[in-house]
Amino acid sequence: MTPLLTTRGLTKAYDGLRAVDGVDFSLATGEIRAIIGPNGAGKTTFVSLVCGRVPPTSGTIVFDGEDITHMPAHLRVRRGIAYTFQITSVFPNLSAYDNVALPAQRTLEDGRAKTHLHAAIMSALEHTGLADRANIQAGALSYGHQRLLEVAMGLALKPRLLILDEPTQGLSDSEIDGFMGLVRDIASSATVLLIEHNMDVVMELARRITVMNAGKILAEGMPEEIRADEAVQRAYLGTENHG
């Protein structure tokens, strides 16, 4: 199968610090891939390069056969790359409904979705269990619900690749359980790239795991392989269960 996303020698340097350093990465359609690694490993920077929030220093990014290295972020979103922020960044002064309306109306205008706007919004809200909170201002929602709203916004974009940056950070155990069900559900229609600290979540969800350290890919493989990998254990898993 041809990969949905590939990067070649992808590099981002900040004043000499190579936050992402020559990363060759490949992601197959339909996969759930987890990226793990210690803080500062370059995970957020890597996905920011993929979704276009940050311009690369060098290297190339190919999405669905098309070179998108220099494509503006908003056009990548329209090609189907959705990114949910590590720091919750819903629109706090807008209702949950309007937060989801923004991505939903986008896909309707693009002709990528054919339903009515209201139906599309409510479907994304129901999917994430927020339907009864549609009219509440996003800023007044609990933290866990804001994270879910973030996911609902990603869903409403009808993505082909959904990038989730530490989505379970700060969630309670029961919220995390609900969340895992949601991700499995999403994975039936989209490829998922998941940055995650919680190893239980990673082992449960991911079919393959990529380990990053100091801007580079340290290891890649099935969850069991990663558990067994000595280099990974030294760099990261030594203390078991982060987050």
Binding site: P72, H74, F91, D98, L102, P103, Q105, R106, E109, M153
Partner: protein
């Protein structure tokens, strides 16, 4: 459910304001009748400003140039080229659309304080040009459109712009059209994107929006509405002068909108009306009226930072658009 159809109470409120203004035409004493005609046109200027400042979150300090583009576009084409009044109105609006497109393309390369300064500088250039071309514009003295020009036929229909009632009703017509146009615009998907840009531009971009294109559209819509107000002002009151291109006419719409309530559809009108009368009343008592107006404004912004209608919306009527 939310986007397309207007909820009844919003429709009733806006239609009610227009109906009330229509009724006032028949009962107001001469002086206040004339004031209100002027205020309605100036509040169209404020509504245009509100699109950019209130809804999109872009603070321009140069909107006098858009008002003046309409004013001169209409005034000069009627005065020098002998165009009809309706053609002059169209010319003024077209000038505003063209100018705001050009200014938008240049000024939107900047953000924040730089955007304020750049718009202010462009407006200053425009102001100075009105003196440089004083041969045509009349500079400070301006140009006066004669009474004969302002009495004309549209088809079989006779219009006399020197008649106060005609002026009032035409000002009201333009006010009503722009009020409902902004109401529809800000409740549309486009309006929702503008608010998203105001709240968090990076996030809006990551939802697939070309934020530059949307901001440009907001500048053009805003500038064109302001030019419509300027063009109508020149034609209804028969005068175009460089005062209207001066810096105070860039500051005034900001104050009107702040006072009435940024990002509210009716706030610009309320703010313009309120400020007009505050200045009118204080200036009849003391020559230091600007000081009093200044203090009143500071107090209002301190205690009602959301403006009159913005405060009402926050406390009692969350449904207000």
């Amino acid at each position: 459910m939310r986007s397309s159809a207007l909820p009844p109470r919003i429709l009733v409120l806006h239609a009610g304001v227009v109906a009330l203004l229509f009724a006032l035409n028949f009962v107001l004493p001469e002086y206040h009748h004339a004031v209100l005609a002027r205020v309605m046109l100036l509040s169209v200027f404020a509504m245009g400003y509100n699109i950019l400042f209130g809804y999109t979150g872009l603070l321009s300090l140069g909107h006098a140039m858009f008002f003046a583009a309409g004013l001169y576009g209409a005034g000069l084409s009627v005065y020098h080229l002998g165009w009809s009044i309706p053609a002059g109105l169209a010319a003024g609006i077209a000038c505003g659309a063209a100018l705001s497109t050009a200014i938008g393309l240049l000024a939107l390369r900047t953000t924040g304080v730089a955007f304020m300064i750049v718009t202010m500088m462009f407006a200053q250039v425009f102001y100075l040009l009105t003196f440089y071309f004083a041969e045509w514009t009349g500079g400070d003295d301006g140009i006066v459109l004669s009474q004969e020009i302002r009495r004309f036929f549209v088809g079989d229909f006779y219009l006399n712009l020197t008649d106060p009632t005609t002026r009032y009703l035409l000002a009201l017509a333009i006010f009503a059209i722009v009020l409902f146009a902004t109401l529809i615009a800000v409740r549309s998907s486009f309006g929702r994107v503008l608010v998203a840009i105001r709240e968090n531009e990076d996030r809006a971009r990551m939802l697939g929006y070309d934020t530059f294109a949307n901001k440009l559209a907001a500048v053009v819509l805003s500038g064109t509405i302001c030019a419509t107000a300027g063009a109508a002002y020149a034609l209804l009151f028969g005068y175009a002068g460089s005062t209207f291109a001066g810096v105070q006419y860039s500051i005034l719409p900001l104050l009107w909108v702040l006072l009435g309530g940024a990002a509210t559809t009716l706030g610009p009108f309320i703010g313009t009306l309120f400020m007009y009368y505050v200045i009118d009343i204080t200036s009849s008592y003391t020559s230091a009226y600007l000081l009093i107006v200044g203090i009143a404004l500071i107090l209002l912004v301190l205690f009602f930072p959301k403006g009159i209608l913005g405060t009402i919306r926050a406390r009692w009527a969350g449904w207000l658009p």
